[in-house]
Structure formats: structure tokens, C-alpha cells
């Protein structure tokens, strides 16, 4: 059995860890609260902008634009979004393993990562990302979304890649908290199958011309999609961290309870030991022959 002192130290350590996990839980739940009022609207925006795109795509099949054409060559680029930090349960591992699977399925593809864990993960699998965006996943702003969207659009426009797919953790609907992928470029109608209430608009007009409309619209659309994806990943990360840290705090509490019982047991058995030692000693003293002492004493 452990000594009471050792157990006491153990309890102190667990309590300290519990404090940290509790603080992290609070931070994440706070961030969740902040992002929650965004998220409802963001979902609406995401659906609307995709519905508009579907309406345009389904009613203008005769428009020829680089963003709408499936290119012959198939050079793929994957954008994988994970967190900057760990301590969030399976969030990072799930999305990263999914990303790794997709990258391995497509030899010769490019890889762009967002988040420090993603970079470290792919390096440890001997895959060097072609590009990294830092400091964006923990603070998804419109400005950073613009930066990312511009970079991705340039990549596609310069024909450095023929298809851009984003891999992130979904926060909505049936795929909630699961890694999903969404195509950014090129825009193809089958990607919009989940949008059901789009209108048929055969007589749609473009002003001043379809070409100009698409040229100006695509960057905006990309920014909207990238921002939506970033917000979803951010919310998923903090949700995962909040849950993980909450269960860690509860575990620590259970552990402390168990350790306290152990400590009390150990303390009591120590006391019992001591008492029985004293009682034994007293017993011995009582029965001891003091006459021996006396005789010896006299000799000195």
C-alpha cells in the first residue's frame, strides 16, 4: 500500500491537472458562445450562397468559363484544416487521418494545410505540405478568409492545379463532427445535390455579360465558402475541446474521490499500526522484570 504522503502528493497533482482542464473547458465554452451566434447565421449564408450557385449552374449550361470546366488533367489539391493545438479529443486525429487517406489515394496531389497539428502530422508521415497557413484557424476572420480564398483562386487560375478540395470537420446536419470534403473549384452541379429547393430559372439574364459576372462573382463566392468552412472547423474544434476537457475534469474528480478514500484508508491503517505498536510496547513494559534493572543499577 502507498504511504499517506505519497497519496497526498498524488491528489495534489490530480487537482492541479483538474484546474487546468477546467480552465480549458471554460475557455472553449466561452469561444463556443461567441461563435454560436455567428454559426446559425453562417449556416443560413452557406445554404443560400450554395443555392444561388446551384440556380445559376443549373440554368446556364451554355456558359463557358474556366471555373465551370472540368479539366482534362487531374491534378488535385487538398486543403486540410485542423486545429493549432491538441487537447480536443479525436478532433485533430479524425480529420487528419481522413486527409492522409485522401492524399495517399491521389499520388502526386498537392497539399495545403491550415493548423499547426496538421503540419506536424503530415511531416511525421513524410509528406511535406506545399503550403501552410498559420494563425488562421484560431481566429477565423473575413480578412483571413479573403487571403486564403485569393491564394486558392490564383492557384486554380494559373492552372497549377485542376481541382481544389477542402477537408474539414463539419458542424452542421447529418455529418456533424465528422470530416467532410467540399469542392471549391471547379464548380460542378453534382456537388450541389444536397440543396433541394433551388428554383428553375431558364430565362436568367446576366448583366453586363455572363463572362464579367462570373469573373467578379467567383472570388466573392470563394471567400464566402472559405469563411463558412473556417467557421465550421473552428466551432467543431472548440466543441470537441469543450467535451474532451469536460470529461477530463469529471475523470479527475472521480480520481480524486478514489484517491481520498485510499488516503483515508492508508492514514487509518497507519494510525492503527502506531496504536498497536504503543499498546505492544506498553504490554512489554508492564510485564518486564524491573528487578534486573535494580540489581544492575546497584552495581554502578
Amino acid at each position: 500500500m502507498q504511504k499517506p504522503n505519497e497519496i497526498r502528493e498524488h491528489i495534489a497533482t490530480v487537482l492541479q491537472t483538474q484546474k487546468i482542464t477546467h480552465a480549458m473547458e471554460m475557455i472553449s465554452s466561452n469561444r463556443m458562445k461567441q461563435v454560436m451566434h455567428h454559426i446559425e447565421y453562417n449556416r443560413l449564408y452557406f445554404t443560400y450562397i450554395r443555392r444561388t450557385m446551384k440556380e445559376i449552374l443549373s440554368s446556364s449550361q451554355d456558359i463557358i468559363h474556366p471555373f465551370l470546366v472540368e479539366r482534362e488533367s487531374k491534378h488535385r489539391t487538398f486543403v486540410v484544416i485542423s486545429g493549432d493545438k491538441g487537447f480536443c479529443g479525436a478532433y485533430n486525429t479524425t480529420v487528419l487521418n481522413y486527409g492522409l487517406k485522401r492524399v495517399k489515394e491521389n499520388p502526386g496531389c498537392s497539399l495545403i494545410v491550415m493548423g499547426h497539428t496538421a503540419e506536424a502530422f503530415f511531416h511525421s508521415h513524410k509528406i511535406v505540405p506545399n503550403d501552410c497557413f498559420h494563425g488562421i484557424v484560431q481566429d477565423p476572420t473575413l480578412d483571413s478568409a479573403r487571403e486564403v480564398a485569393n491564394a486558392l483562386t490564383d492557384l486554380y487560375e494559373n492552372e497549377q492545379t485542376d481541382e481544389i478540395t477542402m477537408i474539414y470537420t463539419s458542424f452542421y446536419g447529418e455529418t456533424k463532427h465528422q470530416p467532410v470534403e467540399s469542392h471549391l473549384y471547379p464548380l460542378l452541379l453534382p456537388d450541389y445535390d444536397d440543396i433541394r429547393d433551388a428554383e428553375e430559372m431558364d430565362d436568367i439574364m446576366y448583366h453586363p455579360s455572363a463572362q464579367i459576372v462570373f469573373n467578379m462573382m467567383m472570388p466573392q463566392y470563394a471567400v464566402g465558402i472559405v469563411f463558412g468552412v473556417m467557421v465550421q472547423a473552428y466551432a467543431s474544434e472548440h466543441y470537441a475541446r469543450m467535451t474532451a476537457m469536460r470529461s477530463a475534469t469529471t475523470n479527475a474528480k472521480d480520481m480524486v474521490d478514489g484517491l481520498r478514500t485510499q488516503y483515508n484508508l492508508a492514514r487509518q491503517s497507519a494510525i492503527t499500526n502506531e496504536l498497536s505498536e504503543i499498546a505492544d510496547a506498553a504490554e512489554i513494559l508492564k510485564s518486564a522484570d524491573f528487578t534486573m534493572w535494580g540489581e544492575n543499577y546497584d552495581e554502578f
Binding site: 455567428h38 447565421y41 453562417n42 443560413l44 449564408y45 443560400y48 450562397i49 444561388t52 440556380e55 445559376i56 440554368s59 473575413l142 478568409a145 479573403r146 485569393n150 490564383d154 428554383e199 430559372m201 430565362d203 436568367i204 439574364m205 446576366y206 448583366h207 453586363p208 464579367i212 459576372v213 467578379m216 462573382m217 466573392q220 463566392y221 471567400v223 464566402g224 469563411f227 463558412g228
Partner: protein, 136 residues
């Protein structure tokens, strides 16, 4: 006057959702006003002002680049940002203008140059409305 549903959406917030009489926005080649029962229509929106006519009164707000869709049920305008005149922080816009001008002066690459130009246009449009210059 006949009303139609107008939604103005930015990635960050829903700026407007309601029934209006007319809406006007800046197209690359001039100002466009849309009334109820307009045919399906798509156009890019330039940085400038969006006018909303409600209860026979025009209300204007400043918008950045985006696009406008007219569908059978109404109009949706997607812009990067949209602000009412009273929401505009003139000092912030002035600072942004200075920053964009500075960046333009030391333009490094073409794409950065493009980005700076857009940022400058956005700042200047905000200032125009912010200083109550009526040009709608």
C-alpha cells in the same frame, strides 16, 4: 407600390431581410435599381452604396464588392460587408485609407497591388458616406 423580399447577406451577418419597394446598387457600369417582379437576373455589385426604398423613403448603406441575384421569390444581395452610415467609424476608415495608400506606394507584387486597390476603394466609399456626401 408592390413589395418584394430583399435579403442582404454578408459572410458575417444578415444585414437586411424584409419587404421593400425598390433596391438600388452599383453595377460596374452604373447604378441599377430593381423593382418588384423583375425577371431572374444576376449582376456583380461594385463597392459603393446600396439604396433600400421602404415606406417611400430611401435608406442607404455602404457596401463592398459582391453580387446580386434576382430570383422569382425576391432579391438576394451577397456582399463582403455592408454598413449603415451611422455604423461607419470615420477614423478607422481614414486609417485604412492611409494604410492602403501606403501599401499602394510600395506595391510589391501584382496580386498585392490588386488587393490594395480594392481596400483603398472600400475605405474611400466608406468615407464618402461617412461624411454624409449625398450622391445616391
Amino acid at each position: 407600390m408592390k413589395l418584394f423580399n430583399l435579403k442582404i447577406m454578408t459572410p458575417e451577418r444578415e444585414f437586411f431581410d424584409g419587404d421593400v419597394e425598390a433596391v438600388s446598387a452599383f453595377a460596374p457600369d452604373g447604378n441599377v435599381t430593381i423593382l418588384a417582379e423583375h425577371a431572374p437576373f444576376i449582376m456583380p455589385v461594385s463597392i459603393g452604396t446600396i439604396g433600400i426604398k421602404k415606406d417611400s423613403k430611401w435608406e442607404k448603406s455602404i457596401n463592398s464588392e459582391g453580387f446580386l441575384e434576382v430570383h422569382h421569390k425576391g432579391v438576394i444581395i451577397y456582399v463582403q460587408s455592408c454598413e449603415r452610415p451611422e455604423e461607419i467609424d470615420t477614423q478607422r476608415a481614414e486609417a485604412a485609407q492611409r494604410r492602403a495608400e501606403e501599401r499602394l506606394r510600395q506595391k510589391q507584387s501584382m496580386s498585392e497591388y490588386r488587393q490594395s486597390k480594392i481596400a483603398l476603394a472600400r475605405a474611400m466609399a466608406r468615407l464618402q458616406v461617412g461624411t454624409k456626401l449625398d450622391y445616391l
